[in-house]
């Protein structure tokens, strides 16, 4: 199994409080890897470190064999890593279609061009349309993203994340706050759009995790307590004690 993403002894402090205390993590290519842990364990912070939002205090991160430690977010994205946000982070005053189109523009190679007309970039427009359909928002295509329902905005958040065709995708609590049926839809969506890609996902919903993940890492107080297959994690006594408790029963 070749490696997509590696974290070596990653640490992060905010002021004097250390939030991430030496995380080592290896995610294989095309693996679906879930990160679970109690509130405040540092899961989102870990994503912020991997995606370049915050600088590391120490340690290193390797994406597809290349060191991306402390690279700019846009550089990391161009190397094939895209992320979603726990708190919906979209272009609220632009249409759904426009949101997706902006998200895939860089990967289409048009960079900062001011000599191409968007209307004539048929490859870009077709791909944007295809993604809008895949995330189930075809009927909302020309609506402003800001007026969508919560679940629709979460779907758009995923659409923006996958639009650029990144090989490694980080999703931060994609189903949080959704109803049962919405969650089921979201899981199906995540399954199809990450087909053949590497997925790292923070999630609280055990049903979602055990249904989607190939492997699970448990993060507690900024340290990885255990990593393994869903069955191994379920059977791990330390995990049961520290976190899962009755949930896995």
């Amino acid at each position: 199994m070749s490696v997509a993403l590696e974290l070596h002894d990653v640490r992060k402090s905010f002021g004097r409080t250390q939030i991430i205390n030496g995380v080592n993590l290896t995610v294989g290519k095309s693996e679906r890897h879930a990160i679970i842990g109690p509130n405040g364990a540092g899961k989102s912070t870990l994503f912020n470190l991997i995606s370049g939002r915050f600088p590391l205090s120490s340690g290193s991160i390797v994406l597809d064999g290349q060191d991306i430690t402390n690279s700019a977010p846009n550089d990391i994205n161009r190397r094939g890593l895209a992320r979603s946000f726990q708190i919906t982070n979209i272009f609220a005053k632009m249409s759904v279609f426009e949101n997706v189109r902006c998200a895939l523009l860089w990967s289409s190679g048009h960079r900062y061009s001011f000599w191409h007309r968007m209307g004539f970039l048929s490859g870009v427009n077709e791909r944007a349309q295809e993604i809008v359909e895949r995330i189930g928002l075809a009927r909302r295509r020309d609506r402003l993203a800001g007026v969508l329902s919560y679940a629709e905005q979460r779907a758009l958040e995923i659409g923006i994340t996958i639009a650029g065709g990144a090989e490694v995708i980080l999703l931060d609590e994609p189903t949080a706050g959704m109803s049962h049926s919405e969650t089921a839809d979201a899981v199906e969506l995540i399954r199809t759009v990450t087909q053949g890609k590497t997925l790292v996902m923070v999630e609280h919903d055990m049903g979602v995790i055990f249904g989607l993940a190939d492997r699970i890492s448990v993060l507690v107080y900024g340290k990885v307590l255990a990593t393994g297959t869903p069955a191994q994690i379920r059977a791990n006594p330390a995990v049961r004690e520290a976190y899962l408790g009755a949930v896995a029963e």
Partner: protein, 436 residues
């Protein structure tokens, strides 16, 4: 990271997506061109012609400003720097051409201004666009101050208090055009104005233009889809400076004199007002603003010395009650018009409109009377206003004006619910039809 525009509570909708509406665009620009050609035939006095020329320059300038504010969310207090520097460079270029040092048709002088604006944009933009939001606004202000100060420190280039004079008529007429008569200058400005409008509109439809909107909406997210928001801002800043420089070059040709005022803070504030009054959320908003503000400034100033006060009040009212500018006032009526519901709104508008007019008349009377009291020695104590004779020494005029103002104000406030009810009805109808 929030764009500073949010601080002003401006609604900033995206430029509407005009995919393959090429035919419609050609028709729109054809119409604009036709209007530009016909206008000087309708308004033939010299006064109108110079005002039209001034408007054409203002349109380019205001649109270029909106590339920063409306499209990228950068509130600049120093955009006139690029207009003014472009202007000065063009004045020197014209003088050099006149002295026979090099040759360039006057028609292309605005391009010199454009490249001068661009060059300074590359320098100043590198510093300013590293920041966004309030820091950007502050740095732009600092640079504007700095340039304005250097204008006084380097009289060789800026000509000191008197500025730089020049002559747009150079050598023999080319194909019968000498740019001596104002009408020829007007058509030169109109031609450049149309070209710049089309270019700036086309820019909104490019990858850079779209990412500028994305940076305005959510610069943080832009970083996670592969773009560097600083780069986007920098590119937009440079291009906006280019167009500002073109406008500056046209101003040089038009007035044949450039003073340090053209690059000062007043000028930067003025273009902000134009874009804002017109509406920064719509491409054509600044066009409306530039035309209206140019008109008001010229027209009001011929009627009253208190024009700046009226103008300032007008701006404050716009910011308070129509923060999306005039363009947004048009835009909100689009849906009612399409669905034939506009009729419902007319009675309320007429009613409140009349009351508003009464209020304004009373207000203007009061202001003018105050002005005459203050300046009594120069202006006398009696004057005519709206066909009425007013004597500021008597109580009757004061009472009448005050009564008119207060009556207008009260009636206006009382009639507002009529408009509100009509809108509630229209919204309900629209929603019902939307659901159907």
């Amino acid at each position: 990271m929030k764009a500073d525009t949010s601080a002003l509570r401006m609604p900033l909708p995206a430029v509407p997506d005009t995919r393959f509406a090429l035919g419609r665009q050609v028709a729109t620009w054809g119409l604009v061109a036709a209007v530009m050609i016909v206008l000087p035939m309708l308004f033939t006095q010299g006064f109108s012609l110079s005002m039209l020329s001034q408007m054409g320059i203002a349109v380019i300038f205001a649109l270029s400003y909106n590339m920063l504010l409306g499209q990228t969310g950068m509130l600049s207090f120093g955009h006139a720097v690029h207009f003014g520097l472009g202007s000065f460079v063009c004045a020197h270029a014209l003088n050099r051409i006149g002295a026979g040092e090099f040759g360039l048709p006057v028609t292309l002088i605005p391009l010199v201004g454009g490249f001068a604006g661009l060059a300074f944009g590359i320098v100043f933009g590198y510093v300013t666009t590293k920041r966004s939001g309030t820091p950007f606004a502050m740095i732009s202000l600092g640079i504007a101050e700095m340039v304005a100060a250097s204008a006084l420190m380097f009289p060789g280039f800026f000509g000191g208090e008197g500025g730089i004079t020049t002559n747009r008529v150079l050598g023999d007429p080319v194909m019968g055009v000498s740019y001596g008569p104002q009408i020829e200058v007007y058509y030169l400005i109109a031609g450049w104005c149309l070209a710049c409008m089309i270019a700036m509109f086309a820019l909104t439809q490019t990858p850079l233009g779209r990412m500028a909107n994305a940076v305005r909406d959510n610069a943080e997210r832009v970083r996670f889809v592969g773009y560097n928001p600083t780069r986007v801002r920098y590119w937009m800043f440079c291009l906006a400076s280019f167009f500002a420089g073109i406008a500056g070059g046209l101003a040089t040709i038009n007035y044949e004199i450039v003073t340090a005022e053209t690059l000062g803070l007043m000028a930067s504030g003025n273009v902000l007002v134009m874009a804002f009054v017109g509406g920064v959320g719509h491409f054509f908003g600044p066009v409306i603003g530039a035309v209206l503000v140019s008109f008001l400034q010229s027209a009001l100033s011929t009627y009253t010395k208190a024009w700046l006060l009226y103008f300032g009040l007008f701006f404050v009212m716009m910011v308070l009650f129509a923060p999306g500018g005039i363009a947004s006032l048009f835009a909100v009526h689009g849906a009612p018009l399409r669905h034939g519901l506009f009729r419902r709104l007319i009675p309320g508008y007429l009613l409140s409109g009349v009351c508003l007019l009464v209020m304004v008349l009373g207000f203007v009377a009061l202001v003018e009377m105050l002005y005459h009291v203050e300046q009594g020695a120069d202006m006398g104590t009696e004057f005519d206003l709206f066909g009425l004779h007013i004597d500021v020494t008597g109580a009757a005029s004061w009472l009448a004006a005050g009564a008119v103002f207060i009556a207008g104000l009260v009636l206006f406030v009382l009639t507002l619910p009529v408009i509100r009810r009509a809108w509630t009805h229209v919204h309900g109808e629209l929603q019902a039809r939307d659901a159907a």
